[in-house]
Point group: C2
Chain length 364, copies 2
């Protein structure tokens, strides 16, 4: 077994968007333009953690130590409890009004990881009684084909939630396409208006993105106080890092967001009471990155070649679990931590969408 990341799946939580690097002027002279600020898209650069300076020099290979202290946050068990509650709500809905929530997914191409995630969502939906529909489009489909599929589902009253499986192939404009999802059905919560509502105090997003929502749920159900705590989020993708930082701020944590350009991330991470990592780099976060007693949520899902495994790989997170477990007070494992919560929150958002659409209120 080699501990080396293989390409599949690496892009699930990849830090997204932006391709051009624009060197910011450091000249103090007044430019010929009215102002110097460049267009924001032009300053976006790929937030890649591949720099060797950021990767640990020593591989993290220690076995689980006897002096383990951290509580393992059992995302699978917590998610199971949530799914069970959702299933009973769905049954109640069916008995009361003869309807069940319905979730439609659009998959572009045949990425192995995307196929796996869509299959998992299908199974999870059906297990709780949510109807699942899938539209599969070819890898080389046009932008308008994807938008048309989204519009059809947006207009279809029998569909309550829509998810577009990300990432999309490079030739498609993810940002533009996401805007075609009806706000009321945006169960992934990635619509920019929804993100704006999440960011702004006094506003309420219709849906909170599933992974950050799952992380907060893990903290709350594990009895972790968020208010007034120092939280560090590693990675600032549109789908995990950004909404995670906004959500932690809404819960009154003091939040620092690290990206691949951060100098001395280890030092900053070590100030965190709550550390959420979504960088997509195995073993990025070593034991030395953690404050003793920190709570660690590992969103990374990095496939590692493993000839002993049925699929030829197994998943590891961004955190060197064996080291972290001896420093942290609580930690999520990979797999079985954040992952199951993401799917549970998707079901939860779909149920919410259906309840709103069908004007069905809970009594329990």
């Amino acid at each position: 077994m080699k501990r080396r990341a293989v390409p599949i799946g690496a892009a699930l939580h990849s830090i997204c968007s932006g391709t051009r690097f624009l060197s910011l002027s450091t000249s103090g002279a007044f430019s010929h333009k009215t102002i110097k600020s460049p267009a924001l898209s032009s300053v976006d650069i790929v937030d890649s953690w591949d720099s060797t300076s950021k990767l640990p020099v020593q591989p993290c290979t220690q076995k689980l130590s006897k002096n383990q202290t951290a509580k393992i946050i059992d995302g699978s068990a917590i998610a199971e409890g949530i799914r069970s509650r959702i299933a009973s709500e769905v049954r109640r809905m069916k008995e009361s009004i003869g309807r069940v929530p319905s979730l439609a997914a659009i998959l572009v191409g045949q990425r192995r990881d995307s196929l796996t995630y869509v299959r998992n969502k299908t199974i999870a939906s059906e297990e709780v009684g949510i109807k699942f529909k899938l539209t599969s489009l070819r890898e080389d489909c046009t932008e308008s084909e994807v938008c048309n599929a989204l519009c059809r589902y947006s207009e279809d009253p029998s569909v309550h939630g829509i998810l577009l499986q990300l990432p999309l192939p490079q030739h498609l404009d993810e940002a533009k396409i996401l805007s075609f999802i009806s706000l009321e059905k945006d169960v992934d919560g990635f619509h920019p208006l929804n993100i704006g509502h999440l960011a702004m105090q006094g506003m309420e997003p219709l849906f909170i993105p599933c992974t950050p929502k799952g992380c907060i749920e893990l903290l709350l159900q594990s009895g972790v106080e968020i208010m007034g705590k120092n939280a560090v989020v590693i990675g600032r993708s549109n789908i995990v890092g950004l909404p995670m930082s906004l959500l932690l701020q809404r819960h009154h944590a003091t939040v620092t967001v690290l990206d691949a350009l951060t100098k001395n991330p280890e030092k900053i991470a070590r100030e965190a009471d709550i550390l959420v990592t979504a960088a997509g780099v195995p073993d990025l976060v070593r034991g030395s990155w953690l404050k003793p007693g920190a709570v660690v949520l590992d969103v990374g899902t990095n496939p590692i070649e493993d000839c002993t495994s049925e699929h030829g790989y197994h998943l590891v997170g961004d955190v060197c679990f064996e080291e972290a477990v001896r420093v942290a007070s609580a930690i999520t494992p990979v797999p079985g931590g954040v992952g199951p919560m993401t799917v549970a929150m998707l079901l939860c958002n779909t149920l919410e969408a259906a309840k709103r659409a069908l004007n069905f209120t809970t009594t329990c």
Copy 2:
């Protein structure tokens, strides 16, 4: 002269929204609800810095020292240069197509500070040739009266930019009302969709909120590198702190946002290469809060009673300037720092809005 904040103006950059305090459960037990996460609006609490524990014990009264080191960032001069460029662009537009940009403001009530800000914006607009319209509504007007005024301006093709002077009286739902401003005319950039676009990589907001845009402009024109730097933003209001943190992230700073609940803000502030403060508390940031060589942008505009002044008060920032100037490498004064830039950026956004609406492109 007493160094005590008086009420007027204190709310200009006040940390906004949210009234209810919700105690977050720390129980690990599974609740009777599907999930524990509360509605986000319910966790919003007023972000007040009034706690005595946050205020400096010793008043900041030192006179400017001889061993001053910081460069004073002259916001007035930089803003003047920008206004001059805008004026020449407006003249060119008038000569080319016989039109000039037009900005409409809505003022609710007669707050003394709001009247001052609106008057300043009127003068600044007219000086660069931007037409300025004002609708004044009574303090006790209804939500629909404000929305109707916004809708009229939104539909009026002769108006290119709309600003709603904040804060609104307590009985009005600021968040809801802001959504009535046409996106294409939202020159303050406070519409939630605009904030969503600002937050998300790969997306481009139509307008960047004026104060944060002005701050970035000050950094760029002062030759301050942003990328990879540690930035700390004090305050997380929807109109300054939040968009400031998002904009600094888009420029690849590592950003920490402090609020009134942050434990040991001094220690965190001392890690900042770039410190932006918008807390609305005079002398909150002392010299001891700064890393030597830090760049300090002071967004605070706190009126201090001053019987020697014509108006009975003068303005101070959140930073104890006399101490900070001996530690920082560059600092904005109050007044004459960020303030003039905010107005210049409003004019800049209005020009942009008009150019888009009139399909007028620049050639310079």
